[in-house]
Amino acid sequence: MPYCSHCGAASATPDQRFCQACGKPLDAAAAASAAPAAPTAPEEIDYQYLGAPTAPTDQPGGGGRRLAKVLGATAVVAALAGGAFLAYTVFFDRAGAGTPEDAVTQMLQAVADQDGVEALRMLNPGETEGFDDVYDSLQKKVADAGLASDADGKVLEAVSIKLTDLKVDVSERGENAARVYIKDGTLAVTVDEDKLPETYRNLYDEMDSDARDQLRSIDISEVLQDGFGSDDKVFLTTIKQDGRWFVSPIATAGEYILESEELDPLTAADFDKVSEENAPKPRTSKDPQGALAVLVEAISTDSVENIFAALPADEVAALRPFTDVLQDQLDGTNGTDLQVSDLDTDFKDLGDDRGRLTIKHGKLSGTIDGEEGYATLDGTCVESSDSPQDEGDSGTTNDCIPDEVKDQTGIDSIWVILHQADGGWQVDPRATVIEYATRAIDNFDLDAFKDSFSQGFSDGFEEGSSYYEGGIEIDPDTYPGSSPSARAGG
């Protein structure tokens, strides 16, 4: 039976010239042909199920094939669009947020819901890189010591925090920065006692019911009023990087410092300097051993720009807005002129353009704020004096890392972490701090700490001795009957 080549409908007679279904002219060759046979040559996309045909349905075969082709083509187009989207997300990560308020609210919501991924995505990447090492060490240590809710070290699994009705207010700081004030919201903390590790359960049991009720609904505006006397005191500073907004812990800290110094952040900080276009050319050393000398030399120029240039660019990006105010502080001193000499170092490549420079011996001499000083590092001991003649005399002080600290932290040498930039080496302060912190956490005996902590808590407090409540020292002599043991005993 002939079929229409347009819609696939069967024609009533072999000599029919127009399709009765769609009205289109019937192609002579096609109309004369028999019903489409199973394809003999393999197609790129074969729309035929393999196997025996089933009983015919009401659907005309040709029409179904045409529909399948249309649907198949649509599916391929849809998949290609999805593929383009996937490729875009792979090659152009859209971390951060479109606006400063979104960056802050999304980060706070993520923190409340314990979504570390989202919280990290809202933080300025240059300021957070490497802290996962510290977190990982801490998590393992806490899990090993039985202080976590589960074996993965999720300490807060027993605690559910909900942040709702968060209200923020934005104050712009030029094109590349904005201060976001926390104005209002409700924080609800609920604790699943069954999931709490035993150590915490004891603490939680000690809490009175009023305190537990208060935790269930905390009015943020009330807390701000009670704690700071105003709702325009608590803020986070956001900065714009590559067109996206990120919360910047360093810029936030910088702005708080400016406020505490009673400096006007609007005039003291220049947030247009956040842009990498204004970044100074890196000051580096060709060999790792010279990186310390490059940093000391930069410090000796008394130029904040030069000091920043001797440090990793992404780490100082958030500090650049404060260049002028820092320079003013530096200009108010009598200058710094330091030299490094007699360095005996050991370098170990850590991969990823990083390396550890262990300083076995070295001398630092010169003036800081006009004051002369000399220091000699030998192993883990520093000998310092205010004149070279004092070396070995009574005016010399000798400080070493105590053995118990070495045992507790595993830090038995002095090192700095270096980072490769612009074909040379620079001291990386953030990576250095992270390396020390990670080593210390890994070696810290948390079990002993936990035991003494639990023991101290269960023993209560000696009558007559002071104790701390909410960060305030309470003297039982002044407030008789106020100590935990007195209250527990009625």
């Binding site: 019903a35 489409p36 046979a37 199973a38 394809p39 393999p42 996309i45 074969d46 729309y47 035929q48 199920y49 393999l50 196997g51 025996a52 045909p53 089933t54 015919p56 349905t57 009401d58 005309p60 075969g61 040709g62 179904g64 094939r65 529909l67 399948a68 082709k69 649907l71 198949g72 599916a75 849809a78 998949a79 999805g82 593929g83 996937l86 997300t89 792979v90 990560d93 971390a95 999304q106 919501q109 993520a110 819901d113 314990q114 979504d115 570390g116 991924v117 989202e118 990290l120 995505r121 990447p125 890189e129 996962d132 090492d133 977190y135 990982d136 589960d150 699994e157 559910s160 990823d352």
Partner: protein, 146 residues
């Protein structure tokens, strides 16, 4: 399921089912996966980007970031080949269903501990995809054509 070599309504329905399954496995990657905790505000694609950036290198190896992209990529291939009944496509669907199940089990265990109350949109979509995918595989085995 064919009439003289032409797809029937049932064939098209099964194909539409595979398209839906692929779409579910793709969409689960762009919505929050859990209701609380990790990935409650972010998607597996976000997590993949963070892991691949190396910023959480000590918590998850870089290849894990690429693994997280496997399910949406498999979903897209399923969508593209939904109306194909080629033998290779059939085999791919079996592998895709097995891989999707494995990924869904691993993610659900790691992120929610299989607590249904912690399931977010992503987890629900992924599991819905697993249910439809395995149902379609079962249908292709049980129906007369196979």
């Amino acid at each position: 399921m064919t009439q003289n070599g032409h797809p029937t309504a049932l064939t098209l329905a099964l194909s539409a089912g595979w398209f839906t399954t692929g779409a579910l496995w793709f969409v689960q990657a762009v919505v929050p996966w859990t209701a609380t905790g990790s990935l409650s505000h972010s998607s597996t694609i976000d997590a993949s980007a963070l892991i691949r950036s190396g910023d959480v290198g000590s918590l998850a190896p870089t290849f894990a970031g690429w693994l997280l992209l496997m399910l949406p990529a498999v979903g897209l291939v399923l969508c593209a080949s939904a109306f194909s009944m080629h033998r290779v496509t059939q085999a791919f669907r079996v592998l895709a269903a097995v891989a999707a199940l494995a990924v869904s089990v691993a993610l659900t265990h790691y992120l929610t501990g299989f607590r249904i109350t912690d399931f977010g949109p992503g987890a629900l979509l992924a599991w819905l995809g697993c249910v439809t995918g395995t149902s379609l595989l079962a249908a292709s085995v049980l129906l007369p054509s196979s």
